[in-house]
């Protein structure tokens, strides 16, 4: 088997007495969609925050493309190729969809310290941005402020941003949330394609989507990974059924 792109080793994080992440180890291999599921409050988002760098882990290691990430800033991790979408969409809401993606393009190009040339007439920014929007099907909404986009469209926009970043791995936090069945279906198809570009660590509540997409699944309960395996292994795992699926 190939080297993992992203490797989380024995990660721990507590808030006071609450152990939000307890000895979590997860690997993300090239070309796969690795789904992370678990009941509410299991610590899924906390884990994503630690990987992306918005929270600092107490102990353990996050290794990405062979480098330890633990002490790097959010921006530095993003520059190294960690693309992220947020559980509650996180966009520059006054900017148009296009300008949101252009921000990612300008980051990839290296310098934000250019003071004079207007971005809107800079084809080296607009063209890649439009291409990314087109890939997620938002090309018609390019000039609409992010605040006016529908819930589903914002998710698509977040993925477009991750695409524009040329990310080497995607962290997607509930991309299907709030989408209608049509949207979910389209997005499922899209994510299935996306894994060819870079592997995806997917947090998702929509079990149909998870079972349709995931190559492997890890189940997180009370901050701990109780099982990791293929879709079928997880479906039949008695501990998972008891702890999690039984409640569904």
């Amino acid at each position: 088997m190939a080297e993992p792109v992203l490797s989380i080793r024995n990660l721990c994080k507590s808030f006071g007495a609450l152990k939000a992440t307890e000895d979590v180890s997860i690997d993300l291999y090239p070309g796969e969609i690795h789904a992370l599921i678990g009941p509410n409050g299991a610590g899924k988002s906390t884990l994503i925050h630690q990987i992306a760098g918005t929270l600092k882990a107490d102990s353990g290691e996050i290794v990405f493309l062979g480098d330890r990430l633990n002490d790097l800033s959010v921006a530095e991790r993003a520059r190294r190729g960690l693309g992220r979408s947020f559980q509650v969409s996180s966009l520059a809401t006054e900017f148009s969809a296009l300008r949101n993606v252009m921000l990612a393009v300008q980051s990839v190009q290296g310098s934000s310290f250019r003071f004079f040339r207007p971005v809107t007439s800079d084809a080296s920014l607009t063209e890649p941005a439009r291409a990314a929007l087109a890939r997620v099907g938002l090309e018609d909404r390019a000039n609409v402020p992010a605040a006016e986009l529908s819930h589903g469209e914002r998710r698509q926009l977040e993925i477009a941003i991750a695409l524009a970043l040329g990310s080497k791995a995607f962290l997607l936090d509930e991309p299907m949330a709030g989408m209608g069945p049509e949207g979910s279906k389209a997005l499922t198809g899209f994510l299935s394609e996306l894994r060819r570009q870079a592997p995806i660590l997917l947090i998702e509540h929509d079990m149909d989507a998870v079972f349709a997409l995931a190559d492997r699944i890890s189940v997180l309960v009370y901050g701990r990974v109780i099982a990791t395996g293929t879709v079928d292994e997880i479906r039949t795992n008695p501990e998972v059924r008891r702890a999690y699926l039984g409640d569904e």
């Binding site: 992306a52 918005t54 800033s73 921006a75 921000l103 310098s111 310290f113 971005v119 941003i161």
Partner: protein
């Protein structure tokens, strides 16, 4: 087709330009000085608008940069007047009464101060940032008051207004045109920055700094750069203000001054290109007219400001040109 805001902006620029000429026509030359004051305060507020409007960073300490600019003008001019070189410890520099040299020194000095203040205060956000910038400005204020070499609380007089090549700066109208020219140039610069990559990152960081970091741009560095540029613009205004009054004093560094800059921006419209210009024109006029009517003018000024905050959001530009739009 021009947007409504562009039309309003052009209108404001023309009105400000027209005031002194009309004043000369009707024989009220003092309005030239008043218009110059509007232009200079607008310039200072344009500087603040860069961090406050675009960057969403409420600096309550921009008087520090305004004062540094003023003192740069005052100190260099006083050394030029007395013909004593300025002893910096490691080198001694001749004073100067050339505005261009003074502006350069003012902006460099303020840039360094902004780098120091920004490096510490930008680690915080929200209300911490407001109070820390205020406290740093107070520090410079107390320093200026108790530092005896340049007049302390008494301030420092500039006996002859500093020189600009090809212009007789002692003529009020010429000096106004010089300030107006600087203001318009800086406004062009501001408009360019707002649309540039840097401006995009800065505005995005105001809307959502986590987003900016997640695409790989460190908001701190962007903000620090903006803070430094902002401080330099405000310092330039300070140098001009010193020349307008032919005087600098610690009151340029006082927290009332910082508050006044914020007032100008809110009156005009936050993050709007011409917001500070509209705000400065309105504020100087209202202060002048109220002051002519009653000794209690500060009371009524307070009431007027309160009414603007509570009932007239968006400022004058918002009222004239509608809601802001971003590309």
């Amino acid at each position: 087709m021009m947007s409504r805001e562009t039309i309003v902006n052009i209108g404001l620029a023309l009105i400000l330009l027209a005031i002194p000429f009309i004043a000369m026509q009707v024989g009220s030359p003092f309005y030239v000085t008043l218009a110059t004051r509007m232009a200079i305060l607008a310039l200072a507020a344009v500087g603040l608008n860069l961090v406050l409007g675009l960057g969403g960073l409420v600096s309550f300490g921009h008087a520090a940069f305004f004062g540094v600019g003023g003192y740069a003008a005052g100190i260099l001019a006083s050394h030029a007047f007395s013909m004593q070189p300025l002893d910096l410890g490691f080198a001694s520099v001749a004073g100067t009464n050339s505005m261009l040299a003074i502006w350069l020194v003012a902006m460099l000095a303020a840039g360094l101060l902004a780098l120091f203040i920004g490096a510490i205060s930008l680690r915080t956000s929200g209300v911490y940032f407001i109070m820390i910038t205020l406290a740093f400005a107070q520090m410079t204020y107390y320093f200026a008051i108790s530092w005896p070499a340049y007049g302390g609380e008494d301030g420092l007089s500039i006996f002859v207004r500093n020189q600009f090549p090809g212009i007789n700066t002692m003529v009020p109208l010429s000096f106004f045109l010089l300030c107006y020219g600087v203001l318009m140039s800086v406004l062009v610069l501001f408009a360019l920055i707002a649309r540039s990559r840097f401006g995009t990152a800065l505005q995005a960081a105001r809307q959502n700094d986590v987003r900016v970091a997640s695409v790989g741009i460190a908001p701190f560095r962007i903000r620090l750069a903006a803070f430094v540029i902002s401080g330099m613009i405000t310092a330039l205004a300070g140098a001009l203000y010193a020349d307008l009054n032919r005087f600098v004093s610690p009151s340029m560094l006082s927290w009332h001054m910082s508050g006044e800059f914020i007032v100008l921006i809110i009156l005009g419209g936050v993050a709007r290109l011409f917001g500070p210009v509209a705000g400065a024109m309105m504020f100087v006029m209202v202060e002048y007219l109220l002051g002519g009517m009653t000794d209690r003018w500060q009371f009524f000024l307070g009431l007027a400001l309160l009414a603007v905050v509570l009932f007239a959001r968006g400022g004058l530009i918002g009222f004239l040109a509608g809601k802001a739009r971003h590309g």
